[in-house]
């Protein structure tokens, strides 16, 4: 079954918005079980590092405003609700094109700022693509039986193809948590390989659902296996688990990305998703990326926020920066 087939038009569109144009795409590698087995993650040490990070790094005034604008440019503006409709998605796309009030952007000198992508379920891909036509903002589709990933494998692969044909340029797949929980790294690797092939030129983000993996060691190992199997991004969560993106999970995954880059030369992106709702949180995440991976990972081709309510808080902070007055949510257009 050739699930990577897609229309030439879709392929061309994907190429135009390739997120990873500045560096070679992760080609993956043979599964190296020795490396996987040697991975360690000391939970309490990781938590201590994360606990001190917000106290070690801060940005103020112009720097804070600029960093918040950067955060907006990294958002995968997301709606993943059962009651999504075309109208709802069109509104979201409108917000994606103009995430901040025009007068504020003008005051900041940041005209033209958009979010990184819009992220929706398959059925909403086509309306989103239509709503974003001409903006250059790609549409990401959650796929492969999102969020649990327990539908038939054949259908999960087929779903990727469907979304590509509908115009999605990025695919957020979910891994089978059971492969991690049972230590079946070969099965995880093979699954991820197949998803990557199915995605073709579209970029694939591997959602680990870290809240269901039990330990940070598992998170580190699953991250590594997905990168070996060719993931372009690794992503924390579906947003549906009880625990979503956290700093300790992020530090663990980001260190795995760094190790993988050091050994293979491939840069893999990172997407924390779920639970990042405050401007201050976004700044801490940016510091984490900057300090642990470097400035290269502060661009949309290597870093995304999966978030729905984060933008609203950032808008209020930006208005405060521009006016010196604390803002109100009602002063900013809804998504």
């Amino acid at each position: 079954m050739d699930t990577s087939t897609k229309t030439p038009a879709a392929a061309a569109a994907a190429a135009a918005h390739l997120p990873q144009v500045g560096h070679p795409r992760n080609a993956g590698m043979e599964l190296d079980l020795d490396w996987v087995a040697a991975v360690q993650a000391n939970t309490s040490a990781i938590e201590r590092r994360c606990a001190t990070l917000p106290g070690r790094r801060t940005v103020k005034k112009e720097w804070q405003a600029a960093w918040l604008c950067r955060a907006i440019s990294l958002i995968d503006l997301t709606t993943l609700a059962g009651d999504d409709t075309e109208g709802r998605v069109r509104r979201l796309c409108a917000k994606a094109r103009r995430p901040v009030r025009a007068d504020l952007l003008a005051a900041l000198g940041m005209e033209g700022l958009t979010v990184a992508a819009v992220c929706v379920y398959h059925e909403m891909v086509a309306p989103a693509v239509a709503a974003l036509r001409g903006t250059g903002i790609p549409v990401a589709a959650v796929s492969t039986g999102f969020p649990a990933g327990l539908s038939p494998f054949r259908l999960r692969l087929a779903e990727i193809g469907e979304s590509l044909r509908a115009g999605a340029q990025e695919i957020d797949i979910v891994i089978s948590r059971r492969h991690v929980l049972t230590g079946n790294w070969q099965a995880l690797y093979d699954e991820m390989r197949a998803f990557r092939e199915a995605c073709g030129a579209a970029h694939v983000k591997a959602i680990l659902a870290t809240g269901e993996l039990g330990t940070l060691r598992n998170v580190a190992r699953a991250s590594l296996v997905c990168m070996m199997a060719g993931a372009d991004f690794i992503k924390t969560s579906t947003g549906k688990e009880a625990v979503n993106a956290t700093l300790p999970v992020s530090l663990t995954m980001v260190r795995a990305i760094r190790d993988y880059h050091e050994r293979t030369g491939f840069r893999v992106g990172y997407k924390p998703a779920g639970g990042i709702a405050k401007a201050k949180d976004a700044l801490v995440y940016l510091s984490l990326m900057k300090d642990e991976l470097g400035d290269r990972w502060l661009r949309p081709d290597l870093f995304r926020f999966g978030a729905s309510s984060l933008l609203g808080d950032i808008e209020r902070q930006l208005e405060h920066f521009v006016t010196g007055r604390y803002s109100s949510a009602e002063r900013h257009p809804l998504a």
């Binding site: 040490a45 106290g55 005034k61 960093w67």
Partner: protein
């Protein structure tokens, strides 16, 4: 830069903490300070400048304390002592609680002032120094509250003199003032000359907290002021600082009867095994050696990495170092601030210039401010243990590194130092971690973490890192003494040879030196006749000399590790067995005692048997504690043997005194070199036959009869002896304490006062404490 430019560059911008409040406080004092004595600031005298090391600007002028200033402060503390100590624990707890709360209420002012004066990043003073200081006062409010019920029979020393360093000015103040006050002492504290300001601010809040006049006194000045304080009429000296100065204080206080605790230098190992979470271990080093610019006595400054991962680990480390931000300490986004003073900067620079060439030097790729005392984070790899920088404390942001092959080699390298303050171990293997921790000769061991501190957990060193613990119940004990003071001891001379003595009854018995489980003739080949009070020749005691002591210490060292590792059950069983075998020969020993002293000996033999039972009982019951530290994990206060103990046994109770010294020492896992009662040595030389029949391993107990003065000097000066005790009736305390300064061994001397060996003061808590060290092992956990 405008927003768009920063949006592209994504640089960190400036994030300065406001210094206005702190500068206004200095202005309110006219930027000139006197001392704080008897509840008020004195008029400034002859002053010197204290500067901001990040800028070189003068912050204020403070007074150089004279001997007269110190005497006035000590007199004020003395006047305040009686009432303060009688006030009761609850009253003191209220004051300590108020101090804790006031530190919190003025947290930012303290933090900014600390950073201005010291150069440490505001993040550290704000998130670490000040909260830990407040925690220390709160914890000690609790100790004050509980003290009377929990530690009966203990009383405060009186006036404490504290001399503290510049690396944690407020926190070290808290570590000295809180336990001193909790225990009911009053205190005169001299802050470091580089960093006096937070102590002066603290003086001010003492008034707000209701600290009575004279209970806390602050005298500023340099080393001369500190020396004057040590020499003043204080009852206890607490010092944190360099080993060099600590040694001088040990010598200066020798024989004065002043209680002493020293928290000194270190060259603490940081061991990374190949199964460690390497990234976390790298991050740990940021907290170990780039915390407070590396100016930390317990800094993990000596990196030991397992060879197989060393290259990768060093690469990760260099990358992390290059990401450190060095600069204005008041900036909230800075990792490494300013070194405290140009003098210190010059020392660091010189040491790296002199020793760096022996290895490979990596200086972090960071930009340093153009002015001020800054030194880049530095890593020196490829050093051998013999390299100067592997041995000497640098006290700056400089990490030295070597590799090891096996756990045993890691331990060997880690312990290959004169110091013994702290150690860090990184491994994901719980078996390895818990095996290594007790083998490291250090007062504090951190597993998979570093530089964790808490008021509930004891902190302090072994070997030349000093003695005494700060924090926890064990720290409080350093500020208390038993209420009882023994009577003055008169020197006991041997029974003089009669004009015409009689020959011994029966066959000649040959007493020897007992070393390594074997009887040996004394090296010097001399013996001394021992006479009964009735003028009968009882026999000859060998006259041990320095070489006999040398041999005995070697035997004790050879036996040390094995005996320390032995189970309490086994040690207890052996002590019971000693008691059993003594009991079997009770009549013989009673007779011997009667011959030696002219008194009936039965009671003393029975008391000795009872004492052996006591220590046999303790052998498997002197448990450690699990400390309630604010951490998901445990801080274990493990009791460990001190090592090799040399002791001059009491003259007045030839058998019971000997047993009262030997039994606690070996019960707690020490090996010992005992010089028996000088006038009545034969009870002890008879005793080695009991030891020989009681399964005591060779070298655990060594007996060298001879002159207390002569052998005591050799023992006290011996660099491979860990503690020396003196209960001699000759007052050798001053000599012992002075000689002990060589390797800063622990001392326990009687200052010419006796104790009732047959009574409760012949055993108990004092002996347990003297025979053990408390090692705090921090084990955070969580998966």
């Amino acid at each position: 830069m405008n927003v768009r430019e920063i949006f592209e560059s994504m640089d960190y911008g400036p994030a300065p903490e406001a210094a206005g409040e702190a500068l206004a406080w200095l202005d309110r004092h006219g930027r000139r300070f006197g001392h704080f004595v008897d509840g008020a600031f004195t008029a400034p005298g002859e002053t010197f400048a204290t500067r901001n090391p990040a800028t070189g600007e003068v912050l204020a002028e403070v007074t150089q304390g004279s001997a007269a200033d110190v005497a006035a402060a000590v007199a004020a503390a003395r006047r305040a002592f009686g009432r303060w100590s009688r006030q009761g624990g609850h009253a003191r707890a209220r004051v300590l609680y108020a101090l804790s709360r006031l530190l919190q209420k003025h947290a930012r002012l303290f933090a900014v002032l600390e950073t201005l004066d010291n150069g440490k990043p505001i993040r550290e003073s704000r998130d670490i120094d000040v909260p830990l200081a407040a925690r220390h006062f709160l914890y000690h409010a609790g100790l004050a509250q509980l003290l009377e019920g929990e530690m009966p029979g203990m009383v405060p020393h009186g006036v404490c003199g504290a001399v503290i360093p510049w690396n944690f000015p407020l926190l070290m103040l808290a570590w000295k003032v809180a336990p001193a006050l909790a225990a009911g002492n009053t205190i005169v504290l001299k802050p470091a000359e580089y960093t006096p300001l937070t102590a002066l601010l603290f003086a001010e809040i003492c008034r707000e907290a209701g600290v009575p006049k004279g209970v806390v006194n602050i005298v500023t000045g340099d080393g001369a002021t500190g020396a004057a304080l040590v020499a003043a009429e204080v009852d206890k000296v607490a010092f944190t600082g360099s080993t060099e100065v600590g040694r001088r204080i040990r010598e200066a206080t020798a024989g004065t009867g002043k209680a002493l605790t020293l928290e000194l230098g270190g060259k603490s190992p940081y061991i990374v095994f190949d199964d460690a979470d390497l990234d976390s271990a790298v991050e740990g080093l940021v907290d170990a050696i780039w915390f407070n610019q590396g100016q930390v006595c317990c800094a993990g400054s000596r990196l030991l990495v397992q060879e197989g991962v060393a290259e990768r680990f060093h690469a990760k480390l260099r990358r992390r170092m290059d990401g450190l931000r060095v600069g204005d300490p008041l900036d909230k986004c800075i990792d490494v601030g300013a070194v405290v003073d140009p003098v210190q900067l010059a020392t660091i620079t010189r040491m790296v210039e002199e020793g760096g060439a022996e290895g490979e030097v990596h200086r972090a790729q960071v930009t340093l401010p153009e002015r001020g005392c800054f030194y880049p984070p530095t890593l020196i790899t490829g050093l051998s243990p013999a390299a100067m920088l592997m041995q000497e404390e640098i006290f700056g942001p400089v990490l030295v590194s070597a590799t090891f092959r096996t756990p045993a080699e890691a331990v060997q390298l880690a312990n290959n130092t004169r110091y013994g303050l702290a150690a860090t171990v990184w491994t994901e293997n719980v078996n390895l971690a818990l095996d290594i921790a007790p083998k490291l000769r250090a007062g504090v061991v951190w597993v998979n973490a570093t530089n964790l501190f808490d008021a509930a957990a004891g902190f302090g060193g072994v070997k030349e890192s000093g003695f005494g613990r700060e924090g926890g119940w064990e720290g409080l004990r350093a500020y208390l003494r038993p209420a009882r003071r023994g009577p003055r001891l008169a020197p006991r001379a041997p029974v003089a040879a009669p004009a015409e003595g009689g020959a011994p009854a029966g066959l000649d018995r040959t007493a020897k030196v007992y070393v390594g489980g074997r009887q040996a003739r004394p090296d010097g080949g001399h013996s001394r006749a021992i006479w009964s009070p009735g003028g009968r020749l009882l026999g000859h005691a060998p006259v041990g000399n320095r070489k006999d002591i040398r041999n005995a210490v070697e035997a004790a060292q050879a036996a040390r590790a094995g005996w320390a590792r032995s189970q309490g059950h086994l040690r207890g069983q052996i002590l019971y067995y000693i008691a059993e075998n003594l009991s079997a020969r009770a009549a013989e020993f009673a007779g011997r005692l009667r011959e030696l002293t002219g008194r009936r000996g039965e009671a003393e033999v029975e008391a000795a048997i009872r004492r052996l039972f006591t220590w046999a009982a303790w052998a498997d019951k002197h448990e450690g504690r699990v400390k309630g530290v604010p951490l998901r994990g445990v801080a274990l206060a493990m009791t460990e043997p001190v090592g090799v103990i040399g002791a001059l046994c009491p003259d007045e109770a030839p058998l019971l005194g000997f047993v009262s010294i030997m039994a606690p020492a070996i019960a707690m896992g020490n090996t010992c070199v005992l010089v028996p009662s000088e006038p009545f040595p034969l009870a002890a030389t008879d005793f080695y036959q009991v030891l020989d029949t009681s399964d005591v391993p060779g070298g655990v107990v060594n007996i060298v009869p001879g002159s207390h003065a002569e052998l005591g000097r050799v023992l006290a000066g011996h660099l491979d002896v860990d503690a020396v005790w003196s209960f001699s009736s000759s007052d050798l305390s001053a000599m012992i304490e002075r000689e002990a300064a060589g390797n800063l061994k622990r001392t326990w001397v009687n200052h010419g006062r006796g104790r009732d060996w047959a009574g409760p003061e012949g055993e108990g808590q004092e002996f347990l404490e003297a025979a053990t060290e408390i090692k705090t092992v921090w084990i955070p956990y969580g998966e």
